[in-house]
Symmetry: C2
Subunit: 435 residues, 2 copies
């Protein structure tokens, strides 16, 4: 892991969004599923997942869900239930009520908060199928009050149509009962436009490969989508009070995700930088996923030396990392200075995996610098608001002329007349308008 | 205005998103401004706005802002200030605090709410320059606490570099002091990537023509953008207690916006349908913008007859209109049944222009059925959240094994070890891991 001065390091990272060929393929798949429904859905499932299904085999049965429980360790069921309880408790605190402002003239103004009606959660197949991600996508929707939550996930390839039992148990523990064994761009199209077997949704969320990401972009507008996640990132701000072995372990836990993942240490202590560098080397050698972690560390891992922790915080704010650990003396004293970070972990025991799996806050967090303007997934992602205006006769009499002046200034005489006709009815604004 | 049975009417409406040529032009403009900065910005301003400027002439001066006040009627300044005060008061009530959950084992979990740092507001030129839209975009950002709000608007064409004084006064009343005379895709690119004269922003909002809309889509990811508004819509649900002249005036106030605007009446009364049809005809003939309104009514205006108000509400929920008026007896009794509508106006005096200009809720509202999953602009559009996790030693000792089990189940041994190394340090989890 290189040690460089923060001033010499280019913080930007470009991310690409699929080749023209991939884009064209996705457009075709989406159009076909939209026009042909189940027929195209089953055809693409046979083609891409080597699994031949009939329409009535798409949905995972209640028996399969129950059978999954006997295929996993009881300790796993207990662990996932405990994590689900924590995640549910945290997201409960995010909930908001509709509200009303009652004005003295009889006017009522307000904001009505409602859950979305139907949400689709994509769960990738194979090694990228993470039970924890099922919880993190489903539970906020459920807490928001979404009455219909549906999951799609590709069938195991090679003619077997089964779904990973750990995924099924996580879904059941989160409360999902409507699950379809379809994946890829064809699953996204089915969720967006509906087929004979799948009722369309209002929003699609969940991670996926490049085809899934492109399909989500393609259907956006017909339905809402979540943001498209980039490779995972961690930044650790540490001083010499930090434990180098802890910090190294946390950096590697991020690096093992993906060769594109990035792990950055920012420190004001050259001695700590060297100690951490050594610890990363030592722990890396023993890691099962050392090939991936080593590639990530080689390409995107760096130790940035700064003159002071305050300079370090400026670097952090420019990075706007997905995950930030404050491994410094009195970490709370720096909290108000952190402008841009998706999730902030404070102190020696707040190792990032605590948040990935268990503490309660969501682990779906903005990547690639977008923490500057976006937020971890939460209950707000599954609600919609309506404004409410109950204007009283008195309020219209008092303010009608002002509203008409503003409308006429914008050249919208029809707007002014909608007010005027009411004032005239009440015997105010007696003069007929010019034409 | 046709009267048809609701059952025979296709509620869907497709919206297009620019030709390939327009897309290509926008991509080129954005790339040029990104690589050349001011040079490209000024070149495109000369080309598209026929206005030759130097870099140091881009920013509107404090003198121009002051001069604008002498070019508008004092009554306009008073009206816009009153509207701004109402909009500010309403949006203040949307504000939320950061919060913390304090757990018995010493753990602190929370959500930190912060304003975005810098926001750019696009204001179209010419006849589409609406002072009310300036307020509706700027004030929520300001209430959210955004410290830097910058406005861009194209110069008057034909060699004059002036900006509409009504727009300048609205900006000043809303509190904006940093204004640049640039427009089109080149202005969006400048806001997203910055130039020598314009510091880049975190989010771009505000309406614009197709080039502006495409440019916003092009830069999304580098910065946040607001949603791209479609043509305006109103649906009125009325029974025979409603005033046909009021309803007709409100339908026309929407129709006059744009030939693409849509005005739909849903009613259970054939007599009211006919009365309203007649009133629309009568009022339309006297409207200054009758050509536009007539085209809108001809193409998208319709009166839908339903058997009952409850059926009417089902139609409304499928339409998911931008604006909904409930012109029925006891409108409040229907409020909880409305699932999808951007803004809901209740009762005879809540004419839609009341909300467009004055009452307080935002007039930027989801169109084209997207009220199913999105919301009017509000303070939440200008904040970002960070999760906070301060995990205690006790919590890690209590839950570490569970977290490790979940991590190992996902094949992420590095995650498990980040926990394990801490447990070992505390004398727990004594056994070394297998490799």
């Amino acid at each position: 892991m290189r040690i460089v001065s923060a001033q010499d390091y280019d913080l930007r990272r470009e991310v690409e969004y699929g080749s023209p060929e991939q884009n064209a393929a996705v457009k075709r798949i989406v159009a076909d599923v939209r026009s042909e429904g189940d027929r195209a859905l089953l055809r693409y499932t046979a083609q891409f997942d080597s699994t031949t299904l009939e329409s009535d085999e798409l949905r995972v049965t209640e028996e399969e869900l129950q059978a999954a429980y006997s295929q996993v360790e009881p300790s796993f069921v207990k662990a996932i239930a405990a994590a689900a309880a924590n995640i549910r408790a945290f997201h409960q605190k995010e909930k908001r009520n509709s509200w009303m402002d009652l004005q003295p003239d009889g006017t009522l103004l307000g904001q009505i908060i409602r859950p979305l009606k139907r949400v689709g959660v994509y769960v990738p197949g194979g090694k990228a199928a993470y039970p924890s991600s099922v919880l993190m996508n489903v539970i906020p929707a459920q807490v928001a009050g979404v009455p219909e939550i549906v999951m799609v996930t590709p069938p195991a390839t090679g003619g077997k149509a089964g779904i990973d039992p750990y995924i099924l148990v996580a879904a059941a523990e989160a409360g999902v009962r409507e699950i379809y064994r379809v994946g890829g761009a064809q699953a996204i199209a089915a969720l967006a436009y509906g087929t004979e077997s799948i009722v369309p949704v209002d929003k699609i969320c969940g991670p996926g490969n490049i085809y899934v990401a492109l399909a989500k972009r393609e259907v956006f507008g017909a339905v809402d989508i979540d943001s498209i996640a980039g490779p995972s990132e961690i930044a650790v701000l540490a001083d010499d009070s930090a434990d180098a072995a802890f910090v190294a372990a946390d950096l590697l836990s991020q690096a093992e995700h993906d060769e594109m993942a990035s792990a950055i240490l920012v420190t004001d202590s050259a001695a700590f930088a060297q100690a951490c560098q050594k610890e990363v080397q030592r722990q890396l050698a023993e890691l099962p996923r050392r090939a991936i972690a080593a590639a990530s560390i080689e390409r995107y891992g760096v130790i940035l030396l700064v003159d002071s922790l305050l300079e370090g915080i400026q670097v952090i704010n420019r990075l706007a990392p997905e995950h930030l650990e404050l491994m410094v003396h009195e970490p709370m004293s720096y909290l108000s200075l952190i402008e841009n970070a998706g999730a902030i972990f404070l102190g020696p025991y707040s190792s990032e995996p605590v948040g990935d799996y268990f503490a309660g806050p969501n682990h779906i967090i903005p990547t690639n610098g977008t923490a500057r303007f976006s937020s971890p997934v939460d209950v707000d992602d599954f609600i919609k608001k309506s404004s409410m205006i109950y204007y009283s006769k008195q309020a219209l009499l008092d303010n009608g002329e002002t509203i008409m002046e503003l409308a006429r200034r914008e050249g919208l005489e029809g707007h002014a007349r909608a007010i005027e006709i009411r004032l005239q009815r009440e015997g105010k604004a007696g003069n007929a308008h010019d034409n």
